[in-house]
């Protein structure tokens, strides 16, 4: 009955097939992401060839100073293009990771940071700080950069804890409750931000509008520097618990029986998702559906193993965001379409399709 150590490798066809599929998918996504990033760097109001972009980045200071074309490309890349593309990568990867973690945690493919209100919570935290911060005597310029991600994180964390409390009991989760809680929180946040517009001044008002639509227009190096540690920490925490999240799919008690500290894993993953989402929303506004679409597509291709879904969702999320942002700044040039509008155009029909397919689960 026991297997001798020298026995040939036992065929587990489905496991092996899915592992091959995962390798292929991740490799394909990595190549696609490279090409998308290259395209996003080269295309824009100021077009350049990949070769020019390369020499503008790699040439020495003297060579750049002596060549006006190179000088211009260098300036565009360093001040505008690169921070924006990097922020797009970060947004896509961060929302992909958070989406995959929330879907695993809530044991449901319909969980998304936007839909269940976590992004809204982050936006509310940030807007409250922007409008009320000066009333409390803080200088807005100083406050915004460093405290915005923290305020957004606090808002995101508050909402995720609230939603989880509401929709989960005795180790079970009620999907209708989860989505209804999302509706309620999104409505509440909409109203609260609406109220804030009445006490906001002009500059604050512009920031608030920006939050509700979502854009990568604010991408600058200092912003990236502030957001990056939050997102990295969040992603690292999620990645550390990938295997435990797999076991959690059996149910909370069952996972505990397998030796998973289920309560600790749940808490850490909620906090990690809120970290990532909060920090990103604080500098881009609400960009929806990336966290819904990316993990779902990866799961369709490679199966639900969180150790594959998470990196896959990060890659696919980054591809989608980089391309969507490229479209956002080129389709209506010189004007710019808010990125949140484009991701919603892509994601909302996708969500409807998912709803259609899970009708039986939702009571039809």
């Amino acid at each position: 009955m026991n297997t001798p150590a020298a026995a040939p490798v036992v065929p587990l066809p489905q496991v092996d097939r899915r592992r091959r599929m995962a390798t292929l998918t991740l490799a394909g996504l990595a190549v696609t992401l490279f090409l998308a990033t290259l395209a996003a760097i080269c295309i824009g109001a100021y077009r350049m060839t990949p070769a020019l972009a390369w020499s503008a980045l790699s040439a020495s200071g003297d060579a750049i100073a002596s060549d006006p074309a190179l000088q211009q490309a260098h300036a565009v890349l360093l001040n505008i293009r690169l921070p924006r593309v990097l922020l797009a990568l970060l947004v896509g990867a961060g929302f992909g990771a958070a989406g995959s973690a929330l879907q695993a945690l809530f044991r449901n493919p319909l969980a998304d940071p936007g839909l269940i209100g976590i992004s809204s919570g982050a936006a509310l935290g940030a807007s409250t700080l922007i409008v009320l911060g000066p009333l409390l005597g803080a200088s807005i310029g100083l406050v915004s950069l460093y405290f915005l991600p923290i305020a957004a994180f606090a808002g995101a964390l508050l909402v995720s804890a609230l939603v989880y409390r509401l929709a989960a009991a005795r180790g079970r989760l009620a999907l209708p409750l989860l989505l209804l809680a999302g509706i309620a929180i999104n409505a509440l946040v909409g109203a609260a931000i609406g109220l804030l517009t009445y006490i906001a001044d002009d500059a604050q008002l512009r920031s608030l509008t920006f939050w509700s639509l979502g854009s990568l227009g604010g991408a600058q190096w200092p912003v990236l520097g502030v957001v990056l540690p939050f997102v990295l920490l969040g992603v690292a925490l999620i990645a550390r618990h990938s295997h435990a999240l797999n076991a959690l799919q059996l149910g909370e008690t069952e996972a505990q029986h397998l030796g998973v500290a289920a309560q600790a894993v749940k808490r850490t993953v909620l906090v990690a998702s809120a970290l990532s989402v909060g920090a990103l929303v604080s500098c881009t506004g609400v960009i929806g559906f990336i966290g819904l679409v990316a993990p779902h597509c990866v799961r369709l291709a490679c199966g639900p193993d969180q150790r594959v879904v998470m990196p896959g969702a990060m890659l696919l999320g980054a591809v989608l965001t980089v391309l969507a942002d490229l479209a956002a700044r080129t389709v209506a040039a010189p004007a710019e379409v808010p990125l949140g509008i484009l991701t919603a155009l892509l994601g909302a029909p996708f969500f409807l399709m998912l709803l259609w397919r899970s009708r039986s689960q939702l009571g039809l």
Binding site: M1, N2, T3, A5, A7, V9, V10, P11, L12, P13, Q14, V15, R18, R107, N108, P109, R170, G171, S242, H243, N246, A247, Q249, L250, G251, E252, T253, E254, Q256, H257, L258, G259, V260, A261, A262, Q263, R299, G303, P304, D305, R307
Partner: protein, 276 residues
Amino acid sequence: MLMTSNLCVTHGATSILRGLSLTIKPGTLTALLGRNGAGKSTLLKALAGDFQANGSTRAARHSGVTTLNGEALNTIAPRRLALLRAVLPQSSQLAFPFSVEEIVLLGRYPHLRGGVPSRHDRGVVADALALAGANALVGREITTLSGGELARVQFARVLAQLWPDAGNANDSANATPRYLLLDEPTAALDLAHQHRLLTTVRDLTREWNIGALAIVHDPNLAARHADVIALLGDGVVIAQGAPCEVMRPDLIEQCYGFSVRMLDAGRGHAPVAVPV
């Protein structure tokens, strides 16, 4: 030995278990019988260590001492506990389409370092599927299985969890005693699979030196396979012993509040209960 003594559990104002004591010995299969709501699952949860894990059962209050091989259950770290006992849940529902093998491989979770299954782990998965009578389900997605098929896959998963390590496979009879707790393992199974599962569990108690507790609803099924039958009623064990001692009309009636008479089931078997 897995042992609980003077176990009291109250849920809100209702008292479920009142000073119950039960011992599960390695090498034996104990069947737990009782009416609906008698507290069978609550007792199983206590033996599984669920009351120690905070949060999941916040509404219940409990007292009493539960020990596993002499150690207080609540002092054993989750990971080590998972190597010492496995629990088959009553029913389960999975949202994502994991494959049958992936689910059984999750049974190896406490054994895996870094999450990568070794050659031994892969062998265990295949063997556990075969032992649970589920090898025909290899390659299927979990969301497409019937209730009985899923129950067999979950059974294979808990077998994989308790499967002896490659190192001490030969003298597993002398290994540290481990425990298997089964909450209505036969509820979703057909007649043949019910008997097959309990036979397998009984055989494994000997081969692996494990103590097993199974909640069973059919006294005749329990009497056929168990070494010990424990009847639960009014929050305590009202009778406990070998099947031929416990299969008495008065005890069965006391347990279920339902009159039965006994029929001879042949030499070497406990009598069979039928309605009066």
